[in-house]
């Protein structure tokens, strides 16, 4: 234990030394961004204790292997150069008699490798127990969520939040959690294996049918995080993405209040259907990115902005969209709390879909244009998805541009 502490301290020291050196060298520019390792799912940028433990352990393995590498590689390089045969005579030198090896060197090297591995093993064992479940002392404070994987989206259930008459609070693809509190996630799968991964907060744990896995993480501070399924799960595995939004406790409570309400009804003014705002559909190339750059400057603020109704809503269009929602049988798969008949559970919950930053499993920005792209031809956005195969194709659903515009307006109004 003492040895481990010593090692741990020395590694921390080395790391901070390295950090100081690079800081001095680059005057403020982090090495991660310098090397382009500051992506949205970078494991080098940690925002919570679980990911941090995992990164620290990774550094330990790096130091140990790097040290071994330097020694072994330099010996190998030296030997290769030093003992190169330079003349034909050397090339055909008479081979010496078979030696007996050198037991001392062999045993010494084995002992050295075992020692190096022990350096890794100690923090590994510690990390296994730490990262597995919420630490005992924090258990009382943990917030419980069940995440369920579907081909190709995630359902999140807030087990502590009962909505009268509708069971527990449920959302899809965007997980909103309180920052600073440990989050205990029960991982479930309804079809094939998936894996739940938010690199900046915690390493992945698989969602396996008929198995109750769990994972915990804690966000240090409010933030907006990218996550992705990490187990191959069929055609659109690459497009099974999600987001985690960590909020301050107060914001989180506000959000819970808002989410617990039934869907937002925009009263019709009775003035008749106005001119459609975007009658013509921009044609999207297959697999064209559905994310825009401007949203990323400050994603958390962008998320907050989505929580409020837009100013220029068209109540007539929204009302028509609301009717279309059941006319086109959307309601058989999607639930909208308060909407009569919209009780389906095969697809994501849509009660407050307008307040999310993304749609279609974290693939498209949640705006009118992208939403229309999504409902216009779901198969082109996410190949093989159930809405397309079991919904549109099976039930022969046809949407006119006007239908699409109205549905988009309705869904966008669900704040």
């Amino acid at each position: 234990m003492r040895l481990h502490k010593f090692l741990h301290n020395s590694f921390t020291n080395i790391r901070s030394l390295g950090a100081v050196a690079s800081l001095a060298l680059l005057s403020g520019c982090s090495w991660q961004s310098l090397l382009g390792l500051d992506g949205k799912q970078s494991t080098f940028i940690t925002e919570g204790p679980v990911a941090r433990t995992q990164l620290d352990l990774f550094y330990v393995t790096c130091y140990v292997t790097f040290a071994i590498f330097v020694i072994v590689a330099s010996i190998l390089a030296y030997a290769t150069i030093k003992f190169k045969a330079r003349t034909p005579a050397e090339e055909s030198a008479i081979p010496p008699e078979e030696g007996h090896g050198n037991p001392l060197i062999e045993v010494g090297l084995i002992a050295a490798s075992v020692f190096a591995l022990v350096i890794i093993a100690v923090p590994t064992l510690k990390g296994i127990w730490y990262t597995y479940d919420v630490p005992v002392e924090e258990k009382a404070n943990a917030y419980e969520i069940t995440a369920t994987g579907y081909q190709w989206w995630f359902k999140f259930e807030y087990l502590n939040e009962q909505v009268p008459g509708a069971g527990v609070l449920t959302t899809g693809n965007e997980l909103v959690v309180p920052a600073g509190r440990p989050i205990h996630v029960n991982l479930r799968s309804m079809d094939v294996m998936h894996s739940f991964w938010i690199p900046k907060l915690a390493g992945k744990v698989d969602m396996i049918p008929n198995r109750g896995n769990l994972l915990w993480f804690k966000a240090d501070k409010p933030g907006y995080f990218w996550g992705q399924c990490a187990e191959f799960c069929g055609d659109s595995h690459a497009l099974m993405r999600f987001r985690v939004i960590a909020l301050s406790p107060r914001d989180f409570n506000d959000w819970l209040d808002q989410q617990s309400k039934s869907y937002r009804v925009v009263a019709s003014t009775g003035s008749g259907l106005g001119k459609a705002q975007f009658a013509s559909l921009r044609s999207f190339k297959e697999n064209e990115p559905g994310v825009s750059g401007d949203f990323e400057v400050s994603p958390l603020d962008a998320w907050k902005a989505k929580q409020f109704p837009e100013k220029n809503e068209n109540p007539e269009l929204i009302t028509r969209g609301m009717h279309l929602f059941s006319e086109k049988t959307c309601n058989t798969c999607h639930m909208i709390r308060g909407y009569a008949g919209a009780v389906g559970v095969a697809g994501p919950e849509l009660t407050h879909v307008g307040s999310r930053t993304t749609i279609a499993g974290g693939n498209l920005d949640n705006n009118a244009e992208q939403l229309q792209r999504w409902i216009h031809n779901p198969g082109a956005v996410k190949p093989g998805n159930k809405m397309w195969v079991n919904g549109y194709l099976l039930n022969n659903i046809k949407l006119t541009s006007e239908d699409e515009v109205a549905l988009v307006a309705f869904l966008q109004s669900l704040k």
């Binding site: 799912q41 494991t43 990774f58 590498f69 094939v192 896995n213």
Partner: protein
């Protein structure tokens, strides 16, 4: 004792054989198609394994390039999601089962019997059977490309329930399952043969602790195959039962546990990793001493560590499953065993360095590949150690970091060793030598291309890119590394193309060389090139670990001994040769037809229709198979004697 000298595995009873063999067609052709279909010569079988393996290696390479083109830029449309999934499934399946394993098998077949001073393997016809069943399996796995259902797209690991009928309704997965079963049968049959051969057919004086390391690794690999393939066979049987007879092994609604597949798969899958790398380690352990002009450093430890890796390899499978929520104790246990296995692996690297230390290194192409192997394998080993730290692995698992890791081990390790081996043994196989210039050029292009492709993938993975994704968004910070990797892949492709173009050129037009061009250490170099059908005119007596070096240093003593042995052997009846046989091929043909029947016929949802049509094809296949097997059994394992003295190579039937 005179008769102890001839190590023939087939018995030659006298009178009855003529009577029995006349009932059956015993092909005699030594050239032409029939000679290849009926061959039982381990060298020809090895050559065929090599040709098929290299063909599939190129197919797998093309699949890899298509994958890299798709990922070169974000949101690419070069491949559809489904095509991409087929591509990576088939790339892995092809490279593992149809390229690296058979390429190793080619060396096992060609080199191993020569190294132990045998005239053939223990069961020559079983050996031919393995080859043809392998081909049948390879055909069935690849059949999907030409059918409506498409190629298998469930990943080479085939995790359930994605591969069950509910989520993969068409026959793509059936073909994968059937093909893998057959490849398993082929591998197990071949391995039983190799083990028997190595244990029972060694030349006199060749004790186990004098076996060349390559032969040792062949033995260990064969053991691994024999003991690990049953696990995937069972897993595949269970999946097959689920798919065809609606059983519940992985059917969640009736209490099935898909995680069980994962366990069974990796019980096989991890030893499989060593099945892929150990032959490479064996080849490297042959090449390094030869070109360093020094015996292998610490031979017993190299052998022992190989065996150790083999054994420990069965106790680490769950490190592929650190993220499946096994609980702390299981995770910790498997993390520790995984770290433990790094020790014998490291020991090998130390011994290789010890071998070149103090030697006289000739920088020939095989040696370049061998040294490249050590460097790259070291890298792969280190990232492997990083995976053993389970919590850190939670971030790396199923990311491109893993892709980088195992390509360093499988290309940088296995493939480099196999490419080195091809260069090394090419003169022995074909009597020609590859040009040093072109060989070295191909080495450098491959080396640079490989590192350009796979080194950036470490960073891609740590930067959060999951594997098996057909597309990614441009804002994730993965664009540059992916683009570099794609460029690297094409450089690698060019390198491999140069390598094989040069090989093909050399096969036809290369510089002819005399025997033993590298001043080899092991017995196979004592043979003329190309090697005659009977291998050894006289079965040698082995006096040392580096048997041929010893022979060259004690020429007179050995010459006298040879003369004595030759006399004894011709008194015993000359060289035993087995008859050729068509029946292993016919039995495999039956398996192919039956396999295709089981795997592909009819996507009709009505079970009665499927059963009717399927049954016909399967019964035809079964009939041909049984016909082949029965004739095989009845034709007997006799052979003829070859007398080389006086009239050369005259065949005398008994």
């Amino acid at each position: 004792m005179a008769d102890a000298i001839t190590k023939s595995g087939y018995t030659a009873h006298d009178e009855k054989i003529t009577a029995r063999s006349s009932l059956f067609y015993r092909p005699q052709a030594k050239t032409g198609l029939m000679s290849w279909l009926t061959t039982v010569d381990h060298k020809r079988i090895g050559f065929l394994y090599g040709v098929f393996a290299l063909f599939f290696f190129l197919v797998g390479g093309v699949e890899a390039l298509l994958i890299r083109i798709q990922l070169a830029v974000p949101n690419n449309n070069f491949l559809s999601a489904q095509q991409y999934n087929e591509m990576f499934t088939m790339h892995a399946t092809t490279m593992i089962f149809l390229a690296i394993m058979p390429l190793s098998a080619a060396f096992f077949n060609f080199i191993m019997p020569l190294q132990i001073g045998a005239r053939d393997v223990a069961f020559p016809r079983l050996n031919a059977f393995s080859l043809w069943v392998f081909l049948a399996g390879a055909i069935i796995v690849n059949l999907g490309w030409f059918l409506h259902d498409g190629a298998p797209n469930g990943g080479w690991f085939g995790y359930t329930p994605l591969t069950t009928r509910a989520f993969s309704p068409n026959h793509a997965i059936d073909m994968w399952v059937m093909g893998l079963q057959l490849l398993g049968v082929a591998s197990i049959a071949a391995s039983l043969n190799f083990i028997t051969t190595i244990i029972n057919m060694r030349a006199p004086g060749l004790t186990m602790m004098r076996l060349p390391v390559f032969t040792w690794m062949t033995l260990i690999t064969a053991f691994l195959i024999v003991l690990s393939f049953p696990a995937i066979t069972i897993a595949l049987v269970e999946l097959m039962m689920d798919r065809s007879f609606s059983t519940n092994f992985f059917e969640v609604s009736n209490g099935g546990m898909p995680i069980l597949w994962t366990h069974l798969f990796w019980v096989f899958g991890h030893p499989e990793v060593y099945i892929l790398i150990l032959p490479g380690m064996g080849i490297i352990s042959e090449i390094l001493p030869t070109f360093s002009r020094k015996p292998l450093f610490g031979y017993p430890i190299v052998v022992f560590s190989g065996a150790c890796i083999g054994f420990l390899g069965f106790g680490v499978w769950s490190h592929h499953m650190f993220t499946t929520g096994m609980g702390t104790v299981a995770t910790a246990a498997f993390a520790m065993t995984t770290m433990a296995i790094a020790v014998p692996t490291g020991v090998k690297i130390f011994n290789w360095i010890g071998t070149i230390w103090g030697g006289h290194i000739s920088m020939r192409t095989p040696m370049m590949f061998a040294l490249g192997f050590i460097w790259l394998f070291m890298f792969g080993g280190f990232s492997g150690i990083m995976h053993s730290a389970a919590p850190a692995d939670a971030q790396q698992h199923n990311s491109y970091f893993v892709v980088a890791h195992f390509h360093y081990v499988l290309i940088g390790g296995s493939l480099f060793a196999l490419l080195a081996g091809i260069h090394y043994w090419f003169p022995l196989m074909f009597g020609r030598k590859v040009s040093e210039f072109w060989g070295k050029l191909s080495f450098w292009v491959i080396f640079i291309g490989f590192n350009t492709t796979f080194f950036p993938m470490h960073f891609l993975g740590l930067n959060g890119m999951p594997r098996r994704t057909f597309t990614y968004d441009p804002n994730m910070g993965w664009n540059n590394s992916n683009f570099i990797a794609t460029i690297g892949a094409f450089i690698l492709g060019v390198g491999v193309t140069i390598y094989f173009a040069v090989m093909v050129y050399t096969y036809f037009k290369g510089e002819r060389v005399k025997n033993d061009p590298w001043d080899g250490r092991t017995l196979e170099w004592s043979l003329p090139n190309p090697v005659p059908e009977y291998n050894y005119r006289v079965i040698p007596v082995v006096h040392a670990r580096d048997a041929f070096w010893y022979e060259k240093q004690h020429k007179e003593e050995i010459a006298a001994e040879h003369a004595k042995l030759e006399k004894a052997e011709s008194a015993h009846g000359g060289i035993h040769m087995p008859f050729q046989s068509i029946y292993p091929f016919i039995a495999s043909l039956g398996i192919l037809i039956g396999g295709v029947g089981v795997a592909t016929i009819d996507s009709n949802p009505d079970p009665k229709v499927i059963v009717g049509k399927k049954l016909t094809v399967c019964l035809i296949g079964l009939g041909i198979f049984l016909y082949g097997v029965y004739c095989w059994a009845l034709e007997g394992n006799e052979g003829y004697h070859l007398h080389l003295d006086g009239h050369d190579s005259s065949d005398t039937k008994h």
